[in-house]
Symmetry: C2
Subunit: 336 residues, 2 copies
Amino acid sequence: MKDIARRAGVSESAVSFALNGRPGVSETTRARVRRVAEQLGWRPSTAARALSGEGAATVGFVLARAADTLGVDSFFLQLVSGIQEVLAERHLGLLFQVAEDVADECAVYRRWWAEHRVDGVLVVDPRAEDPRPDLLDELGLPAVVIGGAPDVRHQGLSTVWADDAGAMASVVDELTRLGHRRIVHIAGLPGLAHTQRRIATLRAEAERRGLTEVRSVTTDYSDAEGAAVTRRVLGGSPPPTALIYDNDVMTVAGLAAAAELGFRVPQDVSLVSWEDSALCRMVTPRLSALSRDSAEFGRTAARELLALLDGDAARAVGVPVPRLTGRGSTGAARRT
Amino acid sequence: MKDIARRAGVSESAVSFALNGRPGVSETTRARVRRVAEQLGWRPSTAARALSGEGAATVGFVLARAADTLGVDSFFLQLVSGIQEVLAERHLGLLFQVAEDVADECAVYRRWWAEHRVDGVLVVDPRAEDPRPDLLDELGLPAVVIGGAPDVRHQGLSTVWADDAGAMASVVDELTRLGHRRIVHIAGLPGLAHTQRRIATLRAEAERRGLTEVRSVTTDYSDAEGAAVTRRVLGGSPPPTALIYDNDVMTVAGLAAAAELGFRVPQDVSLVSWEDSALCRMVTPRLSALSRDSAEFGRTAARELLALLDGDAARAVGVPVPRLTGRGSTGAARRT
DNA sequence: TGAAGCCACTCAAGCGCATTAGCAGTTGGC
DNA sequence: GCCAACTGCTAATGCGCTTGAGTGGCTTCA
């Protein structure tokens, strides 16, 4: 800035005013300063900006999953890619960290806060008993919870929520329409809030329709457990005629397990994946799946965080209900 | 720090010396200062540190891939997870950015450099004609190229290289041992350096063994192209008896395509995936694949970058040659 | 006993920017 | 014709930390 000031023949303050669009300089001077800055390829030092109270121009994102379950999930990269798209427009950086567990994640937030490293954070995988919202509230760190419940209890926290209940209802609708009355939901991690919402909704829907042979089983999202649970439930008698899996990986693993047991899909058993991805289109038969736009999910979350950083009040916004894309893995229930 | 200084009854400078392990304070004072700092939960402001010449305590990572091809790849999350593991020990942050293409990526490096946002960067997907090493050299930004060639031409750039040639040779070894003489290599993006290395090695190996019906076809890594190319080459006459795919996604798609054409795996055609992941164990038959430790790859790269930041000279280090894990998708060549 | 040297510490400057107070010069109002 | 208000700019301060240049008291040795 000193260079720019010298070349433009003004003081450093004038340069600051000019480049930040503040009043205090004439438009001709502003234009001249802008031109010189452009010529010199000047960019403000984020460190200096941060130090003089402007914030770090960075938002944080922590992924608390065991390293080995990271790989297969297509959701997060898509999400991050959407987040980036919005952040990049404002030249905000994304500080990314992988943590062991939620406690570790909390430690990361504390550190980031103390180091003034981030202006806000995006929180994923909200849990039933979740210490993170309270912590972030306490620290006063603006945050958006991705995939939370639509009730805002914390003042500083916005929520972007997906309508799990609506989606589950629509899946049950479709399956009962096809004649299925024995359904097993092979859910994800029991501690996650959306797992519990899906389980609760399924139970409510079943009750409403008088279906007695409907239940949920929780897993760790892995292909191994997906296959194991599939084998176990299909071994029961009578076996279920429809399976709902909480992610694509388990569905594919379940498909293979079903085939090994001699079950034809969809004649003997119907399969629905709660996550649509290339995977679902790569196996035979192709998997019927709930399609949602993960990148758009990320974009929405990032926009909410920007609003929060701009001083807007926290709020809860919904993203469109995922739609069931029927493919080859669902069909009419076999008559018993 | 002012608070700490006051409570410990020393000057701010003394606090700085004490907390940074520099000489200039007695051990008793140092301990006292440390204790007070701990009590107060003090963490240095990265902005202030950066401003006084200490670097940004951050390294950058840009992924230049189209948003829609991001999702399926299991490699990157594993890699990043490994990188994190090493960076976290030193409390270095990872600034992550998704870019449209290499030009965009270069713009990001320029911006980061001008803004003093990162101390170094990790570069992935090195290309045949790659502008990035020159740019980073010019900017003087320490960098590690992940998956580059083992020749160091740029002074500031270290390289972590995987022995693609050795791996390709071992695959060809195994396939010829099984009697395969007609092999098609379904490669990835033609612009990537490792794609070209694999293609060149395959050609050399074929020549050395006098195999005339061996060739490579490039793709965009997608399941769609993997399936399409598989259909095309298996439609030739005589069709190849072995296919080598540059990633897991294409292999799975190829497997489905082969099945549709009535080819049995491995009786009619053998399939090898150049990427091992849960995917490879989820389909029937399970896929023979080249296994490498992606997280370890990331750890090695991060360690090299740390060495560079510590002032060590740039160098090239290799990671272990990926090993072929034989599963159900490879078998003896069918007699023609 | 004095000079030299060292230890443990303090002082002050500065990193690059934002911001507040202040200061000439001009304009407008009565 | 004088004061007030406004315009367009400069000077100075501070953000939280590091660091080189001191400084005072102590030890050591001639």
